[in-house]
């Protein structure tokens, strides 16, 4: 209806308000809304069954398992080098970073240490995976809000990082490059220069995202104060990575529990945000991506010379024992608990993936939020389904 005068407009508003009063008495509870299994915000196949009361969520229950591949069981019938092939497929966006904690745990049990050059290159590839992984999030978060442009920028620029990873490892997604005792190969000629150039590009990309999204009013209204996770809740649910740091916990495994990689060789800082809302999570990841480009730049300038493989036997047999090593992966704390009985393969591998814990907070954080916010909160928690259904 179109109001032609102020009076008619007032009458229209009053009648609407009267209708609304009537509606208050209607029962609006008990509606079930299924989100997924196919939804762009789920990065895979996750289903969330929401119980709604009008526009508000009373209960949100994530249902996983559509993609469960049973890696913990499969690792038990494989040899250690074969396990890395599986492990690559856990968090498929953070490819190389998946392999590192497993290899480090195996090295810890074997009591071998990779030479410094290998450690530095590992750290560089680790940070490149982080940039590739997080840059996709930075664009993808725009899509959840309704802005399509950022994700195209993200795919465009992420390609440059993937090219750099591919040039060294031969694989864009599943490098399978890390070896017990070092790396498969050295870096190719001219790679350092190219990577420097790519890092400059990625910083420009971060600036673009800052302009396009962080400064955007719609983005701010949709994200600020939405999905707030207080510090103690975040800790007791075992949230990790940027989700934890966005709740104001100054904790980063790269700095606080460095398992021997080269992070302590360069200066960098851990970014935190006190708010704990969706915006804070986006902001922390943005800063982290930028920080990672600086880490890569600094590491590239200081790669030591020397061998890239330690002396390890041709057939890898790991002495009996147990080890748990975790690293700060793009999504958070990823760790492997390896039980060895002195065999060619592990007796038991427990894979601690960040997304499993990060998403277990969904029933808590979704309580009482409005339907459109479900998607932004899911997007800002940022999980990869392969990382939940390992």
């Amino acid at each position: 209806m179109t109001a032609t005068s102020d009076r008619e407009q007032m009458a229209y508003v009053a009648s609407q308000a009267a209708d609304a009063r009537v509606n208050v008495e209607l029962d609006t509870g008990d509606m079930t809304l299924n989100i997924g299994p196919q939804h762009p915000a789920t990065h895979g196949t996750l289903r969330i069954a929401c119980q709604l009361d009008g526009e508000q969520v009373i209960l949100a229950e994530p249902m996983m398992g559509y993609m469960h591949r049973g890696y913990e069981k499969l690792c038990e019938v494989r040899t250690y080098p074969q396990c890395t092939t599986l492990i690559n497929r856990i968090d498929w966006l953070g490819s190389f970073a998946n392999e590192v904690p497993f290899i480090l745990a195996a090295e810890q049990l074997m009591e071998v240490e990779a030479p410094p050059r290998a450690q530095w290159i590992r750290t560089i590839l680790f940070e490149l995976s982080r940039i590739a992984n997080l840059s996709l999030f930075l664009g993808d978060m725009g899509v959840q809000i309704g802005a399509l442009t950022p994700v195209f920028f993200a795919f465009r620029d992420r390609e440059r990082v993937l090219n750099q990873i591919e040039e060294v490892t031969g694989g864009r997604f599943h490098p399978n490059f890390d070896r017990i005792g070092g790396l498969k190969d050295d870096i190719p000629k001219g790679w350092v220069e190219e990577t420097h150039a790519v890092m400059t590009k990625m910083r420009t990309f971060c600036d673009e995202m800052e302009d396009l999204l962080v400064g955007n009013e719609i983005f701010q209204t949709r994200c600020r104060g939405v999905g707030v996770i207080p510090q103690d809740v975040a800790l007791s649910y075992g949230l990790s990575g940027a989700n934890l740091r966005a709740s104001g916990v100054d904790w980063d495994l790269r700095r606080d529990a460095n398992p021997g990689l080269a992070w302590d060789q360069v200066d960098w800082r851990v970014w935190t945000h006190p708010d704990g809302d969706s915006f804070a999570r986006y902001w922390v990841r943005l800063q982290e991506t930028r920080e990672a480009t600086h880490i890569v730049d600094k590491l590239l300038d200081g790669i030591p010379s020397g061998p890239i493989m330690a002396k390890v036997p041709r057939i890898i047999k790991i002495p009996a024992g147990e080890a748990y090593v975790s690293t700060e992966n793009p999504l958070g704390e990823m760790g492997y608990y390896i039980v060895s009985t002195g065999d060619l393969g592990p007796f038991r591998v427990k894979i601690r993936t960040p997304s499993f814990n990060n998403i277990s907070i969904v029933p808590w954080v979704m309580k009482g939020v409005y339907v459109p916010d479900v998607i932004t909160i899911l997007g800002s928690l940022y999980f990869i389904l392969g990382d939940i259904d390992r």
């Binding site: 996983m64 398992g65 469960h68 049973g70 913990e72 069981k73 499969l74 038990e76 019938v77 494989r78 074969q82 810890q108 103690d232 809740v233 800790l235 007791s236 649910y237 075992g238 949230l239 916990v249 100054d250 904790w251 606080d256 529990a257 020397g306 061998p307 890239i308 493989m309 002396k311 036997p313 041709r314 057939i315 009996a320 024992g321 147990e322 080890a323 748990y324 975790s326 704390e333 760790g335 608990y337 039980v339 009985t341 002195g342 065999d343 060619l344 393969g345 007796f347 038991r348 427990k350 601690r352 499993f356 814990n357 277990s360 907070i361 808590w364 259904d389």
Partner: protein
């Protein structure tokens, strides 16, 4: 093996922070601690009384170990078919001393079954990893799951994050958690039978189809293996350590 190093592991040199932590936690937890193990520079293991499982978590949370890492379990029994049921290749590489799994071993809790850090008497053992983000320390807590009940108390009320981990442990190992309101499957379909991560649960894919990774590599006769390895190492050293 770890069984020989219970409490005296603490006097291995080189890890004062963890030794101090071990002393502190032993005092805090009192007689709940059954056995401890310390790997210098790596990790600290505490095995606690399963009846005090909940108390332990509560005490540790108050002692600033408030970051919930993960909860899981280990099945220490030996797979009835041996680890690699499908090939002779793997059979040939079984440990000779029988310290690890023996392929004919059908009894789940034979003394030859692999032993763990900080010991253990039962088939299933729980693992709990807790961090302290203020002290930058971590600890791994273990507990034997009682054979008769197969259940321990839930940690859900102390660490809400344990909820899903307990559900996962329940469906994969069949361990129950007293007080957990809803131990429904988290990954597996509802009609799924069995507990896949138990050692006696066969991996069907491997039973029906031989593993290609094993089929297409050349077998090395056992008597040649050591020789070959020495040769490779000698070449490696001659080439200057791989530079």
């Amino acid at each position: 093996m770890a069984d020989e190093t219970p409490d005296d592991a603490a006097d291995t040199p080189g890890d004062e922070p963890r030794e101090a932590l071990l002393a502190e936690l032993s005092e805090l937890l009192g007689d709940a601690v059954v056995e401890t193990h310390l790997q210098p520079g790596q990790n600290l293991w505490l095995r606690v009384d399963p009846a005090r499982w909940q108390d332990t978590a509560r005490v540790l949370q108050r002692a600033s170990f408030d970051y919930f890492g993960f909860l899981s379990a280990v099945d220490w029994s030996v797979a009835p078919e041996g680890r690699y049921e499908d090939t002779e290749f793997d059979g040939g590489l079984e440990p000779e001393d029988g310290s690890a799994e023996g392929s004919d071993d059908t009894e789940p809790t034979e003394p030859e079954a692999p032993s763990s850090y900080a010991g253990g008497d039962t088939r299933f053992q729980l693992l709990l990893h807790l961090h302290s983000h203020t002290r930058h320390e971590a600890v791994i807590i273990k507990a034997d799951v009682p054979e008769d009940t197969g259940a321990v108390d839930t940690l859900r009320d102390i660490f809400p994050g344990a909820d899903w981990h307990e559900r996962e442990t329940h469906e994969m190992f069949g361990i129950s958690f007293n007080g957990h309101p809803q131990l429904t499957a988290i990954y597996l379909p509802t009609e799924f039978e069995g507990h896949p991560l138990r050692k006696d649960y066969p991996l069907l894919a491997r039973t029906v189809k031989p593993w290609p990774g094993v089929v297409d590599i050349e077998e090395i006769p056992e008597h040649l293996e050591a020789e070959l390895e020495a040769q490779v190492m000698a070449e490696f050293e001659a080439s200057g350590g791989g530079e």
